[in-house]
Symmetry: C2
Subunit: 357 residues, 2 copies
DNA sequence: TTGTAAGCGTTATCAA
DNA sequence: TTGATAACGCTTACAA
């Protein structure tokens, strides 16, 4: 189903290339060349053309250029369903800075809400309105038997690898970071851990949980000493996990969270219930969002290189966009870094703790 | 200066309308009509056409449609220089939901970074690639003697009125909200206030500060009892203000902040220095971002109806987009709401307080 | 170095 | 109800 186009009110007719050509006393081809290949035009001719352009306030009609050239210089960034604005804002900044420096415009589309959002994005790509795609989630939906990835335009996964072969990715070492989170707690003497998960089957969740499991196994910890609670990267799921935690006895003393928001929700909720952090419970977040410095206590976490992820993602995409042939598929690995702050401390002495409610 | 277009690699040639027409044994006009005006085509003809479309995986080329129809169904959202992702994310969601339901695609552009960002956005609009504009800041830069507002396309200010006559706006009652913030502190007995400002000359800052001044004057408070500290809606400016505050003696006991981030930065910094909140100092934020519930103490603030701002802004723009003639200019006023939480309490008894460092 | 002219893929007008 | 055809405004062979 296509919505009919409604022509917008034209006030004064916009200048066309032919107007400029007439004003400068040259052909339209010369105007076009003056703009795109300045050195293929005689100097004084170009001056006349430029003067006419600025006098008439001419801007080339983008639709006509796109149609003729078969390229739109637009890049679509696909956001996951549940996303954290504090986290992604910096990544997007990284994209935007690089892309706009190279003449590309960034379009943002999110996969949340109804299916028709995903449909519109897919159509946009197949309508040849998009030259390249950056995907911030591992999975892209298939609509009417085709997905954005089928359009055959350069596409790169950032923050998450795309769940289909043949695409480059820029990611961090999620698994190692989760190992670092977990080890940090072990090093502090914790032996009863809890894992606060992200959305099931998400790339990041899978890898982070894998790291958590490896680290606990390495430490010889029994599976049962490392409970996994569901979550979705929201404050709310941290609160829910905290409520579960408060009902436990004995309680775990170390919490590994798959993101900062949930960690902060958890932190606040248990603190309010009288549990002290880090004396009674230690918690490690993941992402390094700015809030982590402003909650109480400050949040120990994994700092992700957010702008660098954005910049590197843009760079990889630009290679695909500008090269004559498809560049080799590759995986760029950046590194997260453990940031020890106030929310983690030595495990409490092994005394049973049911200070409850 | 225009960047040359580089045609993207075509794998298999995309189906065109003529391919569909041939496959269905009709003319291209009939294919077009089947898509746009289904009821002007005989039922069985349309069925054949639709079958061919889905068999060939045909999607109309957007550039061609845009060129021919003179409308792009794209809406540009202009973000201010300094913006708060946690705040604007919900507003954007509000836009996106309404716009995409009406067949429009949203493009995001920010004014931060170098001038060339603003230039690209301006060109995009003059290139007739954009049907409508939503502006989240009062001021839009002029580049080469023209601004986005000069393009003559429907434009609406959201969260801030545009600093030029002739444009509709959807805003909240900033001034009244600031009065409510300030009164709340007076009601609690505070008489030495401090105002933590937003960026100079921003629409919101101007109105909020005006409300603050009015409320203090109404209360008969001396100008000197109400210091204004500069800020820019960031955590950092809250921290800076806190450092100034800590150096004061006696200190103000009530802080009115122009945004939540600064308030939280302030809160954290003074708390860490041993000042108790709300016993020694009360603070009121502005915006109602989610994190306000998770800092310690929770933040008293003004809750803005963010999604409603987005939805209303989209609605006003859509009127301009869909109507035959320009709708009347009007100002839609929504209301913020004081949310009393933990960061405000009765003014301390008037004893001098230099508990310092 | 410059100009001529043929498309790019649609949609809308007009005629059948 | 359908079809032929002329735009939409630009870029780019190719010719001069």
């Amino acid at each position: 189903m296509t919505v009919p186009l409604i022509a917008s009110r034209q006030n004064r007719r916009a200048a066309r290339i032919s107007d400029v050509a007439a004003a400068a006393g040259v052909s339209t081809a010369t105007v076009s060349r003056s703009l795109t290949f300045p050195d293929r035009v005689r100097h004084d001719t170009r001056e006349r053309v430029m003067e006419a352009i600025s006098r008439l306030g001419y801007t080339p009609n983008e639709a006509a250029r796109v149609l003729r050239a078969g390229a739109s210089r637009m890049v679509l960034v696909v956001m996951p369903q549940r996303y954290s604005p504090p986290f992604f804002a910096d990544v997007l900044d990284g994209f935007d800075a690089s892309l706009s420096a190279h003449g590309y415009t960034m379009i943002l589309g999110s996969l949340d809400g109804a299916e028709n959002k995903a449909r519109r994005l897919t159509e946009l790509v197949f309508a040849r309105q998009i030259d390249g795609v950056i995907i911030l989630t591992g999975h892209v939906p298939t609509i009417d038997g085709r997905s954005i990835l089928d359009a055959g335009i350069p596409s790169v996964g950032v923050c998450a690898e795309i769940d289909r072969a043949g695409f480059s990715a820029v990611v961090i070492d999620d698994e190692d970071c989760a190992i670092a989170q977990t080890r940090h707690l072990f090093d502090l003497g914790h032996s009863q851990l809890m894992y606060l998960a992200g959305p099931e089957n998400y790339y990041n969740e899978v890898h982070r949980y894998r790291g958590f499991v490896k680290a606990t196994q390495n430490a010889g910890l029994d599976e049962k000493m490392a409970l996994r609670l569901p979550g979705d990267y929201s404050f709310a799921s941290g609160v829910a996990a905290a409520q579960y935690f408060l009902g436990q006895s004995p309680r775990p003393t170390g919490i590994v969270s798959a993101c900062d928001e949930s960690a902060i929700g958890f932190l606040k909720t248990v603190t309010q219930a009288g549990v002290r952090c880090p004396e009674d419970v230690s918690i490690v977040g993941f992402d390094g969002i700015e809030f982590g410095e402003f909650c109480t206590p400050t949040l120990t976490t994994i700092r992700q290189p957010r702008r660098e992820l954005g910049a590197a993602g843009a760079r990889v995409l630009l290679e695909g966009l500008q090269g004559k042939s498809a560049p080799p598929v590759r995986r760029t690995l950046l590194h997260g870094e453990l940031l020890v702050r106030g929310s983690t401390g030595p495990a409490p002495k092994p005394r049973s703790r049911h200070l409850q409610d």
